[in-house]
Symmetry: C2
Subunit: 468 residues, 2 copies
């Protein structure tokens, strides 16, 4: 049997789970259903049957998140294919297929969104193995979810009669409620999960047949890609020129070799807060709580607390409390969360895309207090990491180390600071912060100045390629 | 006509408006309906007709809050009578009466809770003047609110027929809904607002008649009181020995000179979040918003945001977001907020009584970040104020001034720091922080140590009498 190559599609910037999921740190990187992030959980699910390092297709902006999260679950040498712009799934999977074939063999691609929940991993793995032989023989196999409700939020796949892997009769768009009910009653209709199994070369062949323009642009972007450690940076100009399309439209609905294997694997796309409530553990009153939640006489609600949330007499609510924003939504209206995000975007507010804690390749910073002419940040620097050599024209900085060891460059001086030691970076001083230790470095930075924006920075040298 | 002496009862520790109102900084000190705090608004309402400095009866713990808030609305030389323990309204008003008569004249006391809203201040002042002559002639006048709904949350006053000030037939307890409806239909029943007008001496006479024990204990506590600037500190032992009772039970229900003047003055006791919603300005969908609130398709809700609150598709909700706690309650269930506070208390959690920002006589501190072995506070020191000379046995402190001027004492050194300057207080160093300037001093304090509790403090000298 051919090698099974996992392809984890991680390019989403889903805001349907705002304020927890935001563009700069979206859903697939969050631990929404358990300790692992969704990406990590997706990898752990397939690792037993597809042990080769995965190919991850991610947004350029998320490269360090993806790399770090994979490292934390023991993945070495993944190929992280970076999209300079989003072009939907057809080009993303084409790039992954090209990457997979670069090893010289002819693997089966197991293509998985990295932000879904699958409760029954064993059933899923068994399904993949059951579909392998059809895929090896040239079928483009999709996994169709056996529906348990007349869902109107998913596309459906109408399958021909039979057992196991069978021909797709047609893909159908999201139905209205009556149609969805009819699909459920008639049987033979399955939810389109966006999970696929096929030979890499076969997918590229079919793409060539139906959308040669996509294949050509993606191939150009892939061949001109810059390789940088685990990152495969698709060429920006070439990839931007690629038409944007989904694998469903570009290939699956057109090909004659589309097959479907119906599966019942505890699948949930976690596409909304109500979906997350469904897959979360609930107490006897139907409440799913995460964090410090006090509930008085409340039912059927989801609450996520970073500090403390008290619910009194409520039902069918979603309450999500983060550092800088709180969402309170009726559980059957959570699709309108996108209207909130749209409003924040149109007002150019940071909460649309950024969390208060902002992740960087070297660690993170969190703006814990802001006042007139000053700002206080908690800065975390990973072991061995170093920030760029930089200066600011309008702010000075006080640094107080509270954990670990800092190596500080300040103009011509280089010195180390330990917990409970501090230093001062005057306006204009060239400075750099490093963590020479093996534990996390944490420090409190008090910025002082008449302008405190992140864009007041001159970078002279940066190990992450951000200088100049 | 006798002098009108305002008595503002400010001893409440109401937690029905948690998390905004907490024991250490309760409702009467909050700007719940406008720019002024409830106490300030109460004073401004009566100042035109009772211009003598008010007598304020407050909890010992709130003395600096009360003094500072009165100063901010231009009150000079108030008498702030401090209760070492709460003993309900009969003793509180007795102490105020004794204080009022200490000036040597025979004033009319206008006794007002300091945490109610009165929308029509003119009508209220006119009512007070209309009641003055009866009060001068010896009546104990209470102001009865003309009911506009069958409220079950208030006691009622049944008045005899007539116009203007009339005899009270009886006080009745909070009724059930049917009884309340009957009161409304029959007329002649008014809500008991807790506002009174009477001669100071007359109240004391009636109290002597019905509850000599209360009068005696209060007199003893008043005569042994320590006077300290504007503060009249009732003697702790004597006042603690006083029976606890309300003016209604102790005097009004027993006296033969109880009168009532029905008033229609836009009164609201703001006794719950739903009451606050009622008195707040609402938009066309019945929403009352305070702060940064985004509302999508929501109705009839109250939202208070310190950061950002987004409401989606909700109705009849109360959402209150503070630094360290969020309340989400159905508007018709807000009386159960007390259950949340009770739970917090039984778990000995600070959110039961304290806000994250804690007020002190010299200013305030706000714990903006806490981590393993460190804590970051934003400290504000009022112009001219000075903290105690103190030391800590288990923590060091870094101070970075971000606004104003600090005078720092550190062991044998005294020096000044300006914005963007810092210093370090080692473990064990005797230190003091002062604001020698005329503007607010703000500084960021980073504490570092293995124990960071507020009780790790040795005070050597304190201008607020807290040393030793």
């Amino acid at each position: 049997m051919a090698r099974l190559q996992a392809v984890l599609l991680s390019g989403g910037s889903g805001t349907r789970l705002w304020p927890l999921s935001r563009e700069a740190y979206p859903k697939q990187f969050l631990p929404l259903a358990g300790e692992d992030s969704m990406l990590q959980a997706t990898w752990r699910r397939v690792a037993p049957i597809a042990p080769s390092p995965p190919i991850v297709v991610a947004n350029e902006e998320h490269r360090f998140l993806a790399a770090e999260q994979l490292r934390l679950v023991g993945v070495s040498d993944p190929a992280i294919v970076l999209e300079p712009v989003g072009r939907n799934t057809a080009p993303a999977i084409a790039a992954a297929a090209l990457q997979a074939m670069a090893a010289g063999d002819e693997p089966l691609l197991l293509v998985l969104p990295s932000d879904h929940v699958v409760r029954d991993a064993d059933a899923f793995c068994a399904a993949v193995q059951a579909a392998s032989s059809a895929a090896e023989q040239g079928a483009l196999v999709t996994f169709g979810i056996v529906p348990n409700a007349p869902e109107t939020g998913f596309g459906y796949i109408h399958a021909s009669d039979g057992e196991g892997v069978r021909k797709v009769l047609r893909f159908v768009e999201k139905p209205d409620t009556d149609t969805a009910q009819r699909y459920l009653d008639e049987g033979g209709y399955y939810w389109n999960s966006g999970m696929f199994l096929f030979r890499a070369s076969r997918y590229l062949d079919e793409l060539r047949k139906f959308r040669p323009d996509i294949l050509e642009a993606t191939t150009r972007a892939f061949e001109s890609a810059k390789r940088d450690g685990d990152f495969v940076r698709l060429d920006k100009e070439a990839f931007a020129a690629c038409p944007s399309d989904s694998i469903d439209y570009a290939v699956m609905e057109k090909t004659e070799v589309a097959c479907v294997l119906p599966v019942d694997i505890g699948w949930n796309d976690v596409g909304s807060w109500s979906a997350l409530w469904e897959v979360s553990e609930q107490d006897g009153e139907g409440n799913a709580h995460h964090g410090d939640v006090i509930s008085v006489d409340s039912r059927d609600s989801y609450a996520y607390a970073q500090r403390l949330v008290a619910l009194v007499g409520v039902d069918n609510l979603v309450v999500v409390e983060t550092d800088d924003a709180v969402l309170v939504a009726r559980k059957d209206r959570v699709q309108q969360v996108k209207d909130v995000v749209a409003k924040l975007k149109s007002d150019r507010r940071s909460q649309a895309a950024l969390h208060r804690e902002v992740h960087r390749p070297w660690g993170s910073y969190d703006s814990v207090d802001v006042g007139d002419g000053f700002q206080v940040k908690r800065i975390k620097v990973k072991p061995g990491a170093r920030l760029s050599l930089q200066s600011h024209t309008r702010r000075a900085e006080h640094w107080i180390v509270v954990r670990g060891t800092a190596r500080v460059t300040r103009d011509n001086d280089v010195f180390e600071l330990f917990a409970n030691q501090s230093t001062y970076i005057p306006i204009g001083a060239k400075h750099r912060l490093e963590n020479p230790g093996t534990d996390m470095l944490e420090l409190i930075e008090v910025q002082s100045g008449d302008y405190l924006g992140e864009d007041d920075i001159v970078r002279y040298d940066d190990v992450y390629g951000r200088a100049g």
